[in-house]
């Protein structure tokens, strides 16, 4: 088992014929993902690595039964793309695109809720359930099928952590890249709920960073609701206030969002914290 996505998801890629689209369709196919359709307006009839291209998501869904969309379009077209996917009946939308105006994201996050759809991202590397599927741009080589769930606000940092788990032969049930934006669809709490329910997940790793109160909210939730062991790493302990540290969401604003506050909240919730990202694997290994 896994959370959110597995081998049954039929993936449509919006922004399929660009450089990134072609590369990642190929990578996903290699990982075993069921990529069934691509969408680029005006390019219906073409194919990318054997995957048929359609003009609209509606056409792609109708022809292929796609139920999941991977959004790779540029930021200024992302809202339209997510709306199109949701209106076409897509129930899982993974948005990789970075730099989307957050007002746009607010609208499509709530529109996803209206459609009872799962939205992952934006500004995220995607999601992978090793041995089953990978939807996004995460490197396939770092994963190992197993029992640790990972949810993370950061991309490369997650790869680093997942890779170090793999080096210790600790596999993962699902790794969710939540995204580095101030507004994201799926949160730590959503992931924790799913991991708690998932029989195949025995422990959860959360990778947080400065900005917002997602970690504090998660800590509160863990205290009351999560029975499985949770491990965490928080990036940005030395970040100054008011500076956007790479991610739009990684900013300490008006005294909120410091690493200190997050670390303390997690401690209160009995979450084991790592000092270095590569330490997480050691902590998890002790538990396993």
């Amino acid at each position: 088992m896994a959370i959110f996505v597995d081998e049954k998801n039929k993936v449509l890629v919006q922004g399929a014929t660009g450089h990134q689209g072609v590369f990642h369709i190929s990578e996903m196919l290699g990982f075993g993902t069921k990529v069934v359709a691509g969408v680029t307006p005006g390019k219906a009839g073409q194919d990318v690595k054997g995957v048929p291209i359609f003009n609209t998501v509606h056409d792609g869904v109708e022809e292929t039964g796609a139920d999941t969309s991977l959004i790779l379009v540029p930021a200024r077209f992302a809202k339209d793309a997510v709306f199109e996917a949701l209106d076409a009946g897509i129930k899982t939308v993974v948005t990789i695109t970075e730099n989307i105006p957050f007002h746009d994201t607010m609208e499509f996050v709530h529109y996803a809720k209206y459609n009872d759809a799962l939205l992952i991202g934006p500004n995220c590397p995607g999601i992978a359930s090793p041995g089953k599927t990978k939807i996004g741009i995460l490197p396939g080589s770092i994963f190992l099928e197993g029992n640790v769930g990972v949810a993370s606000r950061s991309g490369t940092l997650t790869y680093e952590i997942v890779n170090s788990l793999k080096e210790k032969d600790i596999g993962q049930s699902t790794c969710v890249g939540l995204g580095g934006d101030p507004i994201i669809g799926t949160t730590f709490i959503d992931s924790l709920i799913a991991f708690e329910e998932d029989k195949n997940t025995r422990a959860v790793v959360l990778v947080g960073e400065i900005g917002g109160t997602a970690e504090e909210d998660a800590a509160e939730y863990i205290k009351e609701n999560i029975s499985k062991p949770v491990f965490a790493f928080i990036a940005g302990r030395t970040a100054p206030p008011g500076k956007r540290m790479g991610h739009a969401g990684a900013i300490i604003a008006r005294g909120k969002g410091t690493a200190k506050s997050k670390i303390e909240s997690f401690k209160k919730a009995d979450v084991k914290l790592a000092k270095f990202p590569t330490d997480i694997a050691d902590l998890v290994e002790e538990f396993v």
Binding site: H103, R244, F276
Partner: protein
């Protein structure tokens, strides 16, 4: 993007929110058409300017000239005052606080209002701040306005005025993709009119492409940061002397954090992102060199990006352009062995683990 007070007030004016009569002042003639007494306000992108001498009231032209020259050039918490806003003094009957910001957890705009205006909102007790969340799918509704404004203890006509201001600032907040619109204080003057005495407007950087009417003023950035921004590189200058280059925001932050464990201090945050484009690598190193770090710490994890491709780019930059400080590298992931060879070949120090690299960087930067 944080707007100067006067720029925010230009937007207020555009949306029909009353602001005091005023203009930017740099010399004597700029006080014409204004009625004394005036308030002179240093235009800086941070708070606390009053205590720093950046706000002065003045009753006549001679006094105004003198005070203007005192304010211009003043250093307020690191910002040199270049612009001063001269405004007619308002006759305040009531001072309110009103803002719209982003509630990241609820993923909705959050309106906050208080009858305790003019104070730093962080110092107002929680039970005196009224909150209302707006669902972005339907936008602000009459009931939202009624609910929050009715708690401010206003008279009927004041309620109407403040309600109109609130609906206007919501419109501004949404249409200009704002992170924050704050009016503190929002006053009721003795004529009974609601008026914004201050403005704090922050526009979401990612949405600037659709607000080409707002001239960028990257007031809160250092010159190097501005340069990086134009090049599309995530680059932040910090207090220390170790320049960190890594790929991915989280990894770059984690690298800086690792330094502090060994008493090192990060001087630059530079996120290379997902690229292995040699041109981008070159630009990154050029920027880093300009920041004059004592040590550069290059931390790469190769996932989709191949370590050796980046390493080749780094080597080419270093051999062509030279480098005048030690570079500690820590490479992990796809093709890491090949990458290490290339970097060693370029004369860089290759560490084995993140801890090892962080320690060596910190030691070198500390002069050990």
């Amino acid at each position: 993007m944080k707007l100067f007070e006067y720029r925010g007030k230009e937007l207020f004016d555009k949306y029909g929110i009353a602001v005091p009569n005023g203009k930017l002042a740099t010399g004597e003639k700029d006080f014409s058409n204004l009625n004394f007494p005036l308030v002179l306000k240093a235009q800086v992108p941070i708070g606390g300017r009053g205590k720093a001498g950046g706000i002065k009231t003045t009753k006549n032209l001679k006094d105004a000239k003198e005070k203007l020259s005192q304010i211009i050039g003043l250093d307020i918490r690191g910002y040199k005052v270049g612009k001063v806003l001269a405004e007619e003094m308002a006759n305040i009957k009531k001072e309110l606080y009103m803002s719209i910001s982003l509630d990241r957890s609820k993923r909705m705009p959050l309106i906050m209002a208080s009858a305790s205006g003019g104070m730093d909102i962080e110092s107002v007790p929680d039970d005196k701040i009224f909150k209302e969340w707006i669902n972005p799918l339907i936008g602000i509704q009459s009931f939202n306005i009624r609910s929050i404004v009715s708690r401010l203890g206003l008279e009927k006509e004041e309620t109407k005025q403040v309600s109109i201001v609130l609906s206007k600032i919501y419109k501004l907040f949404r249409e200009y993709d704002c992170e924050l619109v704050e009016i503190n204080p929002l006053i009721i003057n003795i004529e009974g009119e609601a008026m914004a005495l201050d403005s704090k407007v922050i526009i979401n950087d990612d949405a600037m492409f659709r607000h080409t009417d707002v001239e960028p003023e990257l007031t809160e950035l250092t010159p190097l940061e501005k340069d990086a921004k134009e090049k599309g590189i995530a680059f932040v200058q910090l207090g220390g002397n170790i320049g960190v280059i890594a790929n991915g925001a989280g990894l770059t932050m984690a690298t800086l954090d690792a330094l502090t464990h060994f008493k090192g201090e990060g001087g630059v945050f530079l996120d290379l992102g997902g690229t292995d484009d040699p041109e981008k690598v070159k630009q990154a190193f050029e920027l880093m060199k300009k920041a004059k770090p004592k040590v550069i710490f290059l931390n790469l994890f190769g996932g989709i990006t191949k370590c050796d491709t980046v390493a080749t780019g780094v080597k080419s930059v270093i051999t062509k352009e030279g480098i005048d400080c030690p570079v500690i590298t820590r490479i992990k992931g796809m093709n890491e062995d090949a990458a290490k060879e290339i970097l060693k070949d370029a004369g860089l120090i290759t560490a084995t683990t993140l801890q090892d690299a962080a320690k060596r960087s910190s030691d070198l930067a500390g002069g050990k």
